[in-house]
Amino acid sequence: MGKPEIDLYFNDAYARTFNAVSRYVTSHASRFQDCEDIIQNVYSRFYKRISEKGYDDIESAEAFLINIAKFECRSFLSGFIKRRDRVKNMSDFSEEETASLEAELSKDVPLLDDVVNNKILAKQIFDDIMKSDEVVGRIFYLYFVCDMKLDEIARRLDLNVSTVKTKLYRTIERQKKKFDI
């Protein structure tokens, strides 16, 4: 099996599986800032594996990669350790606030097109999300990129749904003021 063929298979698998793998890792890694390293290792190991042993025996690249990711990020123990110390009772999130959040997210804001194209500002907004709270970045990624539902995120991260909503909503509200968006 030649390298071009391997690369072709890898590129295809990478494109098809990245969302699923990043979603898994983001959900399970102990810290969001580790996620990129973990994903890197997952794919590096996957590439090494198919380079050395081929891919004929791999029925599902996604399943294979998720299995690597599962233990690459040592997710079980991370969750195991973290959950204990997590304070679960956060302030409730009212129905009004929920409705407000949904409306806010669905509202068309022309200014945002310009912001996205302004790489410096866009990166500042991203960094602001990431530095505010370790969990916030994870929630943002899972919610917006992976299209997970809030209750699903809450279950995955062992948080109350209201906590997830609070973090999401308040971060957006804060950014609106901070960056005038």
Binding site: E36, S44, R74, E104, V116
Partner: protein
């Protein structure tokens, strides 16, 4: 742009650098060391090896079964008699290719897949199965019914009748899932023979020591059964990374393993407990009798010893040594482990691996293989397979688990093939599972971890571990990749899996438990000492007594075969025992012989013989020794005439005639004789118990895990011309 799309764009763009990941992956680049656990293969570990178990339609051969007790069928025997009969059959068939119908009784009801695995483990996957016995009392007889039982996979099976070569009996018996193997006949089957019930009648097997004595009271206090859930944590550990010594809970080695840091070797190697058990051959040899012997003719000095050999190698820095099989012994020194072959008179270095502070964590039941961990560059990071059969020391390539941490503990189950390791790094214990393929670790997976997580035990591949948090030691098992809490104990308990990884000892500040993963039971052990399992899957020694666990309950007693597994360092060779002796390796005759396993008994005989009777027996033994060891000439018996006179002096007319015939002693002329198959006896090792002119001579068979066992011989004396003479022949 909607705000939702805005954030999707932002997070997609900046969360992960997809292009960089893609490029790095192709270059083989990995991120920082903290995320480097190796994963090999997705499906290999989970792939069940389906081994076909053939079903047999051939008729049972009535001539194949052994007739042990006067043609009595098994159903007419007690369990104790059946076990004794089975032991004899196993011994007699050790090297036999003859096919037998064999009833295999399992230690507990097994699933059909387990039964197939157990039965085919040693037989190239093809064992005709004639009958299966179900837990509900029903039977599956014949190929069709057996095949259906195997394929439906639902029934619990307590026993099976298979057709196999005799030599396989001992191998099948060695499985941790097998309680007993017995040859069965047509008559046995016609009389509706059934598997024994180990959980009810385990006294027959496990309470009965080789001498037939039964039932020592169980462990002190309330341990006859399990209590709820739980486990123990003694720091015994043949199995944990100690070298198999009984370890002291206070031993720094045990405490160090909890955090994976290194410490110096414990005292286990500096003080070899074997030494006290092993008589020094040189002390036993000699011609000065402890007991009086007659001296019938001037210049004759009959040998009182059995001529046992004793050999010392040069000083090779040995800290520990023992045989792995009949001709290979293992030596641990400060900075290496070595394998030597032994031809009966000289040793030859066969393999050596530089590694510091080697600790054995697994020993196969027959000693053919061991796994050790060792320190390299100051870190316990290496794992080696010691292959005695092939004289090889193989790096198991555990780096994929260890990464930049250290091995705090490791355990392996031969039955399930599960290797588990506790890797300590940056204050966290990472629990890994792996398979062993081609003597190397494979399919390494990190399955659990925490700051106070410990390996516990496994049952049929299901891993159990402990985690300590907020004053509670919690016990978990892994189910389908997730953890399920089983129970908890107040306070901190250290966990020590046994070498076979079938049980674990949990030791707390004030109490101790054995955790039985099969029943998920905590069995209290009320002793200040930790149970020592050695290489046994189910028996252990504690406070000088032996016990066997069955179905979550502890039963007193263990067969000598089980004791041999506990005392594995002295039992893997029948012929030799090796021990470290001031840097050299001392080799002396072994005691765990087939003869000892089949007929030696544990006893504490006290001699009551008169001096006259003792003298008569000892003198006769001297004659036997001279003949057996071909030492007549050395003893001063230089002619046929003298030999005949000596024999006549100590044996009755009838016994003397028999002895002369047996040893083809020449009547006149030059000295000529054979040993007649006689065995020499250490007179020092005998105890004579008489009742009138008859009695029993106890001949020490050896010390087995601290307990002395004896062969027994009936003794008859007669009085001729005022002297007592032996009226029988020993050996």
């Amino acid at each position: 742009m909607k705000r939702r799309d805005f954030y999707k764009e932002i997070m997609s763009e900046y969360s992960f650098d997809k292009d960089k990941i893609l490029a790095n992956a192709k270059k083989g680049k990995f991120a920082g060391r903290k995320n480097l656990p190796m994963y090999i293969g997705l499906t290999a570990a989970a792939a069940a090896v389906v081994v076909a178990v053939g079903t047999a339609s051939v008729m049972l051969n009535s001539r194949q079964g052994a007739q042990y007790i006067g043609g009595t069928t098994l159903t007419a025997l007690s369990n104790e008699e059946r076990i004794q009969k089975a032991m004899e059959e196993i011994r007699r068939n050790e090297n036999s290719d003859e096919l037998h119908d064999v009833l295999v009784t399992f230690t507990r009801p097994l699933a059909p897949s387990q039964v197939q695995s157990v039965l085919t483990q040693y037989s190239d996957g093809n064992v005709p199965v004639k009958i299966l016995y179900m837990a509900d009392g029903s039977k599956a007889v014949g190929s069709e019914a057996v095949g259906e039982a195997f394929s439906n996979g639902r029934d619990s099976i307590t026993g099976a009748v298979i057709n196999c070569a005799g030599y396989l009996m001992s191998k099948i018996k060695s499985s941790e899932f097998v309680f007993e193997v017995e040859i069965v006949t047509d008559e046995d089957i016609a009389s509706d023979v059934a598997p024994m019930k180990p959980e009810v009648e385990n006294n027959d097997k496990n309470d009965t020591t080789s001498d037939g004595n039964t039932s020592v009271p169980a462990l002190p206090d309330g341990n006859s059964g399990g209590v709820g859930v739980g486990f123990d944590n003694t720091s015994d550990l043949d199995g944990d990374v100690s070298d198999g010594e009984e370890s002291d809970p206070d031993d720094p080695e045990n405490s160090e393993s909890s955090d994976g840091s290194e410490s110096s070797e414990s005292s286990e190697d500096s003080e070899d407990p074997d030494s006290s058990d092993i008589p020094d051959g040189s002390e036993e040899s000699g011609s000065v009798p402890v007991h009086p012997m007659l001296d019938p003719l001037d210049g004759i000095k009959l040998p009182t010893d059995n001529g046992a050999m004793s050999y010392n190698t040069a000083n090779i820095g040995a800290q520990r040594a023992y045989f792995l099989n009949e001709n290979v012994f293992y030596v641990k020194s400060a900075d290496a482990v070595s394998l030597y072959t032994w031809d009966g008179s000289h040793e030859t270095l066969a393999a050596q691996q530089e590694v510091s502070d080697a600790k054995v964590f697994w020993v196969s039941k027959n000693g053919s293989k061991m796994m050790i961990t060792g320190v390299e560059n100051g870190v316990r990071s290496k794992m080696y397979m010691i292959d005695g059969a092939n004289c090889a020391i193989i790096d198991m390539c555990a780096e994929n688990m260890v990464l930049s941490g250290s091995i705090a503990n490791a355990a392996y189950s031969e039955a399930s093939g599960l290797l588990a390791a506790d890797i300590f790094e940056d204050g966290t214990h990472y629990i890994y599972t792996a398979a062993v393929s081609d003597n190397r670790t494979a399919n390494e997976l990190c399955v659990a971890g925490g700051t106070n997580t410990q390996l516990l035990a496994q049952d049929r591949g299901t891993l159990f571990y402990t985690d300590y948090y907020n004053g509670i030691t919690e016990i978990y098992k892994l189910v389908n990749g997730d953890y399920v809490k089983i129970t908890e104990l107040s306070d901190y308990y250290t966990s020590a899996p046994n070498s076979a990884f079938t049980y674990a000892v949990l030791s707390g500040n004030s109490d101790r438990y054995i955790f039985d993963p099969a029943t998920q039971t905590l069995i209290p052990v009320q002793s200040e000492n930790a149970p020592v399992f050695g290489a046994s899957t189910r028996s252990f020694s504690l406070d000088g007594e032996h016990y066997t666990i069955l179905n979550g309950a502890i039963n007193s007693g263990a067969t000598l075969s089980e004791i041999a597994r506990i005392d594995f360092r002295r039992s893997f060779s029948q012929r030799y025992i090796a021990t470290a002796n001031e840097g050299a390796v001392r080799i002396i005759p072994g005691c765990y012989t087939s003869a000892a396993k089949s007929s030696a008994i544990f006893a504490e005989p006290v001699s009551n013989a008169s001096e006259k009777a003792q003298t008569a027996v000892n003198s006769a033994l001297g004659v036997i020794n001279a003949l057996a060891l071909n030492k007549c000439n050395d003893s001063g018996i230089t002619s046929a005439e003298k030999l005949n006179a000596v024999i006549d002096a100590y044996f009755s007319k009838q016994a003397a005639a028999e002895l002369k015939t047996r040893c083809t002693v020449s009547a006149w002329g030059g000295l000529a004789y054979t040993n007649g198959g006689l065995s020499a006896v250490n007179v020092q090792d005998t105890v004579l118990v008489m009742d009138g002119l008859s009695g029993t001579l106890y001949i020490k068979a050896g010390t087995f895990d601290g307990k002395t066992a004896y062969f027994t011989h009936e003794i008859r004396l007669v009085e001729e011309n005022g002297n007592l003479k032996l009226d029988c022949i020993l050996g």
